[in-house]
């Protein structure tokens, strides 16, 4: 394939921040050939997004171009006139952004948004454009393309919006598609569908793809070549199989080892009284109430029953809308169940004050978003000490000592105590959130997607910390996640949910090795399995769901 001229040729690209002179992209070179899929992998701050945006001539005002050359289709992007640059964007290079919720204009009809680019770059009359648009919407899998034309973006789910976004870009049949974390905001199953669609469409149009992602597994699955970036540098690039199997650079190895792997199954103590027992839990969200009418209630959980044994980590997995978060919130007492019963240590929590306080003090929660789960006006010490306020018989000195102890346990130390959350990174904040949840030494912790907002290597560290703390203190845990890889690493038992019902449950190894329910199989097909190789790399394998046509081998 390398006999033809490269479509995109980036050589020695260096970008600096204007004021401080900090180098954010340092001497980056890579090439993309026609029809090829190349992945740029790196964590936040690695410069991968900046490097890709420079290709389009989109450099933020604060960033200065220091050197290097970007040639697209033989033309130098740097010296292009604004007019040529505009002609190139959209028509020859398309871009799909991360956030499907914000990349479509919410006040514009889908049909008009799709038409905009087409009308600008192609000389076609309205009926011809309409035919093209309908055709494209059909090929991205929209059920009712005619109807979609006169619908607004908010009427579609995240996955559908990303398909529409893809349709709008592919309408112009660009030579190169820049996809910046195109599926990060979507859940695993939808993520896979969108990726497969993207690969299929670009293949059909002979469009090259530059895929930017932090997810090494996904990049490895779809890309022929991988560029690994870290802190502005390209640390390694090459064929996907080589990078995975024989990583040369320590950072690549670190990324690979950060991919979740299965820990050995551990024996659990004999079943005693379950610490949490949920029976026939039903949760309904009331429909929208107007002054005159009341729309129907939406049932989020249809009679869920689960038991969590002392010391056990139970994972609840499912896509968005499966009810897994609602389940966690109702066990945490944040959502009032419509029906059913929750017992804590064998006692129904609603019945007596004593049982309620035992439950309230011993059941804690770690939230998904470390940016929103910490009160921005409190210092770390205040945040971590707050739960202790309600612990009876604890002297101020004891409290102070406990806070220091817990901060050390989560790997931060007392030096952080006087800082505010905004001074910490996402990983550090999530450590604080964990510290706050365990500072009362609870016997049960609910973790709702605790690592899904974090970078891969940080995720691995936080998971490891969580695992360590769980083993040390022996608390039981309900671990809610859409990411099966993470679940495989931490869970003893797995519960798979779909549409508010449990579709399958069992010990982790059974679920992962012999899934019986089609939905479980579908979930598993969306994540890679890992096998360590002798050269310090990994080999990925993909489980296949039954009745599932694989597009990429």
């Amino acid at each position: 394939m390398n006999t033809t001229a490269p479509l995109l040729d980036v050589a020695g690209l260096t970008l600096k921040i204007g004021g401080s002179g900090r180098t954010v992209v340092n001497d980056v070179s890579f090439q993309v050939f026609p029809g090829e899929i190349v992945g740029i992998v790196g964590e936040s701050g690695s410069g991968k997004t900046l490097a890709a945006r420079a290709v389009m001539g989109f450099i933020p005002p604060a960033v200065r171009l220091e050197g290097g050359r970007i040639r697209f289709d033989g033309q130098d992007v740097m010296t292009m006139s604004p007019k040529d640059l505009r002609a190139m964007r959209g028509s020859k290079v398309g871009m799909v952004f991360q956030e499907p919720m914000t990349s479509l204009n919410p006040s514009m009809l889908i049909g008009r948004q799709l038409d905009e680019g087409l009308a600008l770059h192609r000389k076609l009359d309205a009926p011809a454009r309409r035919a093209l648009i309908l055709d494209m919407l059909r090929s991205v899998g929209l059920r009712d393309p005619e109807g979609a034309l006169t619908a607004y973006p908010h009427q579609f789910s995240g996955g559908m919006r990303q398909r529409i976004m893809l349709a709008s870009v592919m309408l112009l049949k660009p030579g190169l598609l820049l996809a910046d974390e195109p599926t990060t905001a979507l859940d695993a199953v939808v993520q896979r569908d969108v990726m497969e669609l993207m690969v299929e469409l670009t293949k059909a149009n002979h469009t090259a793809v530059l895929l930017i992602s932090h997810d090494l597994g996904m990049v490895a699955r779809y890309c022929s070549r991988i560029v690994v970036m870290s802190q502005g540098d390209v640390v390694e690039q090459g064929k996907a199989e080589d990078i995975l199997a024989r990583p040369q650079h320590p950072y690549t190895r670190k990324l690979l080892s950060a991919m979740p792997h299965r820990s050995p199954a551990r024996p659990l103590p004999e079943a005693r009284t379950p610490i949490v027992a949920v029976r026939d839990l039903v949760v309904e969200y009331p429909g929208r109430q107007g002054f005159f009418r009341k729309s129907e209630a939406k049932r989020a959980l249809h009679g869920i029953s689960i038991d969590v044994q002392p010391g056990e980590v139970v994972a609840v997995v499912g896509g968005s809308g499966s009810g897994k978060t609602t389940l966690g919130q109702s066990i945490a007492g944040l959502v009032r169940p419509t029906g059913g019963e929750i017992r804590f240590n064998g006692k129904p929590i609603e019945k007596s004050d004593a049982a309620y306080w035992d439950y309230r003090l011993n059941c804690q929660m770690v939230f998904q978003d470390p940016y929103s789960s910490l009160d921005p006006r409190m210092t770390i010490r205040q945040l971590v000490a707050e739960p202790l306020r309600l612990v009876p018989d604890m002297s101020p000195a004891d409290r102070k000592a406990r806070v220091a102890e817990v901060l050390t346990e989560v790997g931060l130390g007392n030096g952080f105590a006087e800082r505010y959350p905004h001074e910490l990174s996402g990983g550090q904040r999530q450590r604080i959130a964990i510290a706050r949840a365990i500072v009362r030494r609870p016997s049960f912790v609910i973790a709702d997607e605790p690592v899904s907002a974090l970078d891969v290597t940080v995720r691995a560290q936080v998971l490891e910390l969580f695992d360590e703390l769980q083993k040390k203190h022996g608390f039981s845990c309900l671990f809610i996640s859409h990411d099966l890889g993470v679940v495989e690493q931490v869970a003893d038992r797995v519960i798979v949910m779909q549409d508010g019902r449990i579709v399958e449950e069992g010990p982790r190894d059974d679920i992962f090795d012999n899934p019986t329910h089609p939905y479980t199989q579908k979930l598993l097909a969306a994540v890679p399995g890992l096998e360590a190789t002798s050269e310090g790399g990994v080999r990925l394998f993909w489980r296949r769901a039954e009745n599932d046509q694989e597009i990429v081998g």
Binding site: P250, K254, W357, L390, G427, Q428, V458
Partner: protein, 290 residues
């Protein structure tokens, strides 16, 4: 290469807190408000001339060495009246804003936190009040409570409460969806504690902005009421009735309007600058970023 950012990244960043110069808006705002308070304080005890003393020989005298800011149509010294009026006007504004902020915040917090029917009923009533222009509402209330200094405070305070309640309620509604509120409930904190500890402090930023701009409206509303004869009854000076009284003489004695107007504008400027500085100071996210 250190990628282990979650554990090492910040520990070395900790630097001793240096004393920093206050922000420029704090300096300018503080100076203006300082002068105002000084003038109001002095004006309550001592003024160059008796602000109420008539002197028909000197009426409508231009600013001079004797009367720095000139005299009005009755020959009263404008500077003395400005100083005496500062105490009244500022006192009225401060009390009115405090009243509106306290009641508005309580109503907004309660309404936003309860939601459901409680919220709907309170807000329907609130919106009905908001639909009246503040000054009209105050006029009606003044007719009930009587036109004097405290009547104005009560009337304007009630008239401005609904907008505070609106702003606080909106903030509460958005805050209570944040995960740290859920975290507080999972901890077992009582609802009232959650409101006081987590929700109220996070309402301070919008409240400061609102309160400072309201201060200006109240100063103007007070002058409008005085202008209509429902304010502080003459001959007692307020900036409002001085401004109102200057109108017939705008052609012959510009200083009568200019100086009270200038006093009002500079006070507003000072309060707005100081308000911004206070808001930034109270927000930990803004600290140290300068």
């Amino acid at each position: 290469m250190s990628i282990d950012s979650t554990t090492t990244g910040g520990a070395s960043m900790k630097k001793p807190r240096r004393m920093k110069l206050p922000a420029p808006n704090a300096i300018v705002g503080g100076t203006l408000i300082g002068i105002l308070l000084l003038a109001a304080g002095t004006g309550a005890l001592w003024t160059p001339y008796d602000p109420l003393k008539l002197s028909f020989r000197e009426k409508l005298a231009a600013p001079s060495a004797l009367h720095w800011l000139g005299t009005d149509e009755f020959g009263r010294d404008v500077l003395s009246r400005l100083m005496a009026g500062a105490a009244t006007s500022v006192w009225i504004s401060i009390l009115t804003v405090t009243l509106a902020v306290v009641f508005g915040t309580l109503i907004g917090l309660f309404s936003g936190y309860m939601r459901g029917w409680t919220d709907r009923i309170i807000m329907a009533f609130n919106d009905a009040l908001l639909a009246f222009p503040g000054i009209l509402l105050a006029l009606g209330l003044l007719a009930v409570v009587g036109a004097n200094k405290y009547g104005i405070i009560v009337a304007l305070g009630i008239a401005y409460t609904p907008s505070v309640a609106r702003v606080v309620r909106g903030t509460v509604l958005s805050l209570r969806e944040r995960e740290f509120i859920a975290a507080s409930r999972v901890m077992g904190n009582a609802e009232a504690f959650t409101m006081a500890r987590h929700i109220l402090p996070n309402c301070i930023a919008p409240l400061t902005v609102l309160a400072t701009s309201m201060f200006g409206y109240v100063l103007l509303a007070e002058s409008a009421l005085s202008f209509l004869g429902l304010g502080v009854p003459p001959p007692a000076p307020t900036w409002g009735n001085m401004l109102a009284g200057s109108r017939p003489y705008i052609g012959q004695a510009v200083w009568l309007g200019i100086f009270p107007g200038l006093a009002i504008s500079l006070t507003l400027l000072g309060i707005n600058l100081l308000g911004d500085a206070v808001r930034d100071r109270l927000d930990p996210r803004m600290r140290g970023s300068r």
